[in-house]
């Protein structure tokens, strides 16, 4: 099939960008979306032009690196699918496709379709962990964890940190990302000692990085390739409230 692509091109963080139109010719339905871009890029290099820079690594939907807004929707709007897992059989001959980077203030554009998501790393650094040094851990079965709890923790832990949630949110909020980590650890016995400190610090860092606040629009859940549920945001809110009350009491 043949397609017409409109792609965001921007040389670096400081230069202006614009949409540029390309033809993608002889695209096979078995190709992945990124393989289709590979084909376009090979053609560009042959013509002496610079290829379109986009982020990708595993191409298996697990590393969270790919980050394309396709036809206005982060990861393109296919259920539980990252951009790298879309196959061209989902498109048809003659389609026009718009491809843009995540657009959220705290994720500045690096080049073309690549953005800088280090804000997410800094949110985890603020407290998204269990403070346990290597070496002193008790036996793995010393503390039984009910299967339901572990399953819930796993549901939340499945977040791949791609940033689609923030890219989809009209407020530019990354609360689903924060909630996923908070809930992963809050559902495990090992996560309890730091539970309330963690939620306060992570939310504080989230705001500091310039992400907006959550007004329960659920756009995030709709685009999340790992189908992380907004119920985790509710859990975060409960924990946050308790934590705030506790720290207010401690301050008295």
């Amino acid at each position: 099939m043949n397609l017409k692509l409109h792609v965001w091109r921007q040389k670096n963080a400081n230069s202006p960008g614009r949409m540029v139109t390309y033809e993608a010719k002889n695209i096979s339905p078995d190709m992945s979306f990124l393989e289709m871009l590979d084909v376009v890029n090979e053609d560009l290099i042959h013509r002496g032009e610079e290829p379109i820079a986009f982020d990708h690594d595993c191409r298996e939907g697990i590393c969270g690196t790919c980050s394309l807004v396709i036809n206005g929707i982060p990861h393109g709007g296919f259920r539980a699918t990252t951009a790298c897992q879309i196959h061209m059989r989902k498109f048809k001959d003659g389609d026009e496709i718009y491809i843009e980077p995540w657009r959220v203030g705290p994720f500045p554009i690096v080049r073309d379709l690549m953005v800088d998501r280090s804000a997410f790393d800094r949110i985890i650094q603020a407290g998204g962990y269990i403070s346990e040094n290597t070496g002193g851990a008790p036996d793995g079965n010393a503390i039984p964890i009910p299967k339901e709890k572990q399953e819930t923790a796993m549901d939340a832990a499945a977040c791949i940190g791609c940033g689609a949630c923030a890219a989809a949110c009209k407020n530019g909020s990354a609360m689903l990302f924060v909630a996923a980590k908070v809930s992963h650890l809050a559902n495990l016995p090992q996560g309890q000692p730091e539970r309330f400190r963690r939620v306060l610090r992570m939310v504080e860092r989230h705001d500091l990085e310039g992400f907006g606040s959550c007004t329960n629009q659920s756009e995030c859940e709709a685009v999340c390739p790992k189908e992380i549920s907004v119920k985790f945001i509710a859990q975060l809110n409960r924990d946050y409230l308790r934590a705030s009350l506790m720290s207010a009491r401690d301050a008295e």
């Binding site: 697990i62 280090s118 832990a157």
Partner: protein, 657 residues
């Protein structure tokens, strides 16, 4: 002749006591002095991230480097199946000794006994550590950790987090790193690629990197350099590795004098989704946990194009069950892969191009119900459907072997130090524990063992042994050696940009990779390897005429990154083929067509364990590690042999019949 002497530094004493004894005998760095030592950790996969976090916890100062935009995205993330540990929670007869024995045997008796034993010992601590960090391993209803059996093991010792074990383990290590970053003990560098290593007065003292965003070339100095940069499966172009995975770090170290061990030991994974066309950019693994319930078969008849569901039972060949009755569909990876190739070579392969075999769940669905199978493998079935458009609940999957893991890597001693003092190598990047073939779920184990529990001890011994290290002893960044290496790196980039040939780096990579797959992949012959060794120097030369890299070196340039990696792969491929040609035996993942059992030999074996066409090891002449020394451009590398001595287990025919 070269003066390098390989000393494995394996401690004396009984096998089970070696590691304890060694830990006692190693020198310690006084806690207050630890912050004076600075460690450069390159790679933040399981091995690198766990090492960085643990070193920082101990008090060392650490800098980390990775080419992704975040440490959390290293390719360890892609591991689906699980991680082994000799916990014996299932009470099914597992023990440290059994894990040790399985790993040694699985590796076809080409690994160091003492290393493997230590790995099995440490495995139990890893699980405890991960649980404490919040890794959400699968649990039973009683709240206990769940296990499954995996890739060639007859006990249930594999721990897992749905189909995302690698991701969850890596997040555990990454989060531990994040905590140390917040505490100011680790300084992370992302989108930063190592391009060379700096050795001063015989010790590894620094690295030269390119900032992938700005293009800046910069040096970093430390008291030790740790490479945890993963494997080199992308030498075949198509593999289950991520596209940017590369051999650059380890190959650069090799060119600076580190020995490269067993480069021909590569693992081909039996359960990958077959290639669909020329556009293919990488291959996708289907976790081999699927083999617990799927049955592998091809039609008995050549060129049978009927739909799989309409091929009657008695016209199917369940070739693994037929050839290996006791292991059946769980036969080790190398054996399963080769068997699949064999039936396809006979013209009985299925799917486009006839390069595929069926993995059939119909019996399991009949036995356990669709719901159970869905619960076990839902995400894998979904992934398969997404890629192929086929529903594996309704018809068998098609699978074919693909390059997946590399057992070879930089040579290290028992302390995980290469022959260059101060250069440590961890995880898939080293050659250490898997011999000629790695068992499933043991790479994650090795990465975390190296990073969490081995390096943190052995690096202290290196620092404490007084070789002018630590604060105040570090060479300045304008040391002539840093300057010289920076200039070489910059010059190479300039030359790549200046080429302006007619081919893209990817095109060249695809062509060389396919040649390596054909002649140095699942099976190898003397003639094929000689052919490759003749072609590769031509590619090495023509690369500089043919390649085209648009843009400049002073900006984010994806073609430039690729070109540099491809060039290293081409040069490295030569070493790999040479090693394969020199190893005149078949063992594990290294199958030389000249060395297999004949029909007569199989018939003559009174135990009945020998199978025609099976790999024929030569313990008399090849029971050693082949460690190669670089001797300059165009020169033949020098082979150093580390003999493998087995005191505890006797190398036997690795029979899975």
């Amino acid at each position: 002749m070269s003066e390098i002497k390989l000393d494995s530094k394996v401690p004396s004493g009984p096998l089970a006591e070696k590691w304890d004894r060694h830990r006692f005998e190693m020198k310690l760095v006084n806690p207050a002095n630890k912050r004076k030592y600075h460690v450069l950790v390159v790679g933040t996969g399981l091995a690198g991230a766990s090492a960085a976090a643990t070193l920082a916890e101990l008090g060392y100062t650490v800098e980390t480097f990775c080419y992704q935009d975040s440490p959390r995205r290293a390719h360890s993330i892609a591991a689906q199946g699980g991680i082994n540990a000799a916990k014996n929670y299932q009470n099914d007869g597992d023990s440290i000794y059994r894990l040790f024995y399985d790993t040694i045997k699985g590796g076809d008796f080409r690994a160091r006994e003492a290393n493997v034993y230590r790995l099995a010992q440490i495995s139990v601590n890893i699980i405890d550590q991960c649980v404490a960090q919040g890794v959400p391993f699968a649990r039973e209803y009683g709240g206990q950790l769940a296990n499954r059996s995996f890739g060639g093991a007859q006990v249930s010792r594999t721990f897992y987090c749905r189909g995302q074990t690698g991701q969850q383990l890596l997040l555990g290590a990454y989060q531990a790193m994040c905590r140390q970053i917040e505490l100011g003990k680790i300084k992370p560098h992302t989108r930063t690629e190592l391009l060379d290593i700096v050795i001063i007065d015989g010790q590894a003292r620094g690295i030269v990197c390119r900032n992938l965003v700005s293009g800046e070339i910069r040096s970093y100095v430390g008291d030790a350099v740790v490479l945890a940069t993963g494997g080199y499966s992308n030498v075949f172009f198509l593999s289950t590795n991520a596209i940017p995975c590369n051999v650059t770090a380890t190959f650069r170290a090799y060119k600076r004098g580190a020995l490269f061990a067993n480069p021909c030991f590569t693992q081909i994974h039996p359960t990958c989704i077959p290639v669909s066309g020329d556009h293919q950019s990488k291959l996708t693994l289907m976790s081999e946990s699927l083999r617990n319930d799927g049955r592998v078969w091809v039609p008995k008849k050549k060129g049978d194009t009927r739909h799989p569901n309409s091929i009657p039972e008695d016209e199917r060949d369940y070739f693994l069950e037929r050839k290996y009755p006791s292991f059946g569909n769980l036969a080790p990876r190398d054996i399963s892969s080769r068997s699949a190739k064999e039936v396809c070579d006979e013209g009985r392969g299925v799917g486009p191009g006839g390069r595929g075999v069926y993995l059939d769940f119909a019996d399991a669905i009949r036995r356990d119900g669709k719901a159970k199978i869905r619960e076990r493998y839902e995400n894998l079935f979904e992934m398969y459907e997404r890629i192929t458009g086929e529903n594996a609940y309704e018809q068998p999957m098609r699978i074919y072997p693909a390059p997946h893991y590399t057992m070879g890597g930089l040579w290290v001693d028992y302390n995980l130090m290469s022959n260059i003092p101060g250069l440590f190598v961890l995880g898939e990047a080293n050659f250490s524990d898997h011999g000629a073939n790695r068992l499933g779920a043991s790479a994650l184990m090795q990465g975390l063992a190296d990073g969490n529990f081995i390096l943190p001890y052995t690096i202290g011994d290196y620092f404490a042994s007084g070789k002018k290290l630590g604060q105040g002893n570090r060479p300045p960044l304008d040391h002539p050696e840093f300057r010289r290496v920076e200039a070489e790196v910059t010059d190479r980039i300039k030359r790549l940009i200046a080429c302006k040939g007619k081919r893209t780096p990817t095109e060249i990579h695809r062509e060389v990779g396919r040649m390596m797959w054909d002649y140095c992949g699942m099976s190898r012959s003397e003639a094929g390897l000689k052919h490759v060794l003749q072609k590769l120097p031509e590619y090495r030369e023509s690369f500089w005429r043919d390649v085209h890299v648009p843009g400049t070196g002073e900006e984010l340039n994806i073609s430039l990154e690729r070109a540099g990696r491809v060039l290293d792969f081409i040069e490295f491929a030569e070493l790999m083929a040479l090693d394969a040609l020199t190893r005149n035996e078949s063992c594990g993942g290294h199958f030389r067509e000249e060395y297999q059992f004949t029909e007569e030999e199989a018939k003559a074996d009174p135990t009945g364990k020998t199978i025609k066409g099976e790999a024929k090891r030569d313990d008399e002449n090849y029971c050693h590690v082949a460690a190669w020394e670089y001797r300059g451009p165009g020169e033949t590398p020098v082979l150093h042999k580390e003999p493998l001595v087995f005191t505890e287990v006797k190398p036997t025919l690795r029979s899975y019949k």
